[in-house]
């Protein structure tokens, strides 16, 4: 699992892109950086899941934990781009009742801006 951060203007939402499998090994690889990136700076965050091909309950836990921290700080977290099995897992877990999940980056940015 790899994570990249797209630089943004001061105060603007940052975009994190996850690539690979968000399973136990993937979470071990990125969780600290993911938590730090979502918690710091007081910014809203978009998470690009288009490069993720598997998410397990450990991955869901990582996303929920970050979303909870951000929510407490009045920051928005929006997930977008989930494909195939990843979208099915997010749906099975009813994650969209807790975290905004949309198909595209444009829709994600619209939520951030709204």
């Amino acid at each position: 699992m790899e994570m990249s951060v797209t630089p943004a203007e001061a105060g603007a939402a940052i975009k994190l892109a996850l690539v690979g499998r968000l399973d136990t090994a993937g979470v071990d690889a990125v969780e600290t950086r993911f938590a730090a990136s979502t918690a710091s700076g007081g910014r809203d965050v978009l998470v690009d899941l288009s490069g993720v091909d598997l998410v397990t309950s450990m991955g869901l836990r990582m996303l929920i934990n970050s979303a909870r921290t951000m929510s407490q700080r009045k920051q928005k977290l929006v997930l977008f781009g989930a494909r195939e099995l990843v979208a099915e897992v997010l749906d099975a877990a009813a994650l969209d009742t807790l975290i905004a999940i949309v198909p595209s980056e444009a829709e994600a940015r619209a939520i951030i801006a709204g």
Partner: protein, 145 residues
């Protein structure tokens, strides 16, 4: 260290692994499972579903087993199904009997636990647990396509 064992010649084609449960050995096991299934022509989607349920089952073994547990896994490919059997030597834990997780109303109420079993139930066609000779034996059947 994950030990790969060849199936007995007279048995139907199969795949077996044994390891001590840990994050590192799980990742190694998943790599071996993927290598085997791709060599057998299993496609991406059923492969990932299988890796998902295997991880959830093994993480439950770690969580409920109280210490490093010996895990044994076997995979049998049938024309329209993949059957995976996961055994461990931990205390009796039957995921089939686990209650459905309660859907939280908010992030502040969301707590870990239960999602793994829920995902196993969602993506496996069938799930069966038995306790035999001091071992948990969990069998899951998944669609091959």
């Amino acid at each position: 260290m994950v030990a790969a064992q060849a199936a007995a010649p007279a048995a139907p084609p199969g795949f077996q692994l044994a390891w001590q449960a840990s994050h590192a050995s799980l990742a190694d096991a998943q790599g071996r499972i993927e290598h085997h299934l791709r060599a057998q022509g299993v496609g991406d989607k059923p492969l990932r579903r299988l890796l998902l349920v295997v991880e959830e089952a093994v993480m439950n073994i770690e969580m409920h087993g109280g210490g490093s547990r010996q895990v044994r896994l076997a995979i049998a490919l049938q024309p329209d199904e993949i059957v995976v059997t996961i055994e461990d030597d931990g205390p009796c834990f039957d995921p089939c009997a686990a209650p459905q997780p309660t859907r939280p109303d908010s992030l502040s109420e969301a707590r870990p636990g239960g999602l793994g079993v829920h995902l196993m139930r969602t993506f496996a066609r069938a799930m069966h647990h038995e306790r035999r000779d001091g071992r948990n034996i969990l069998t899951l059947a998944l669609a091959r396509q």
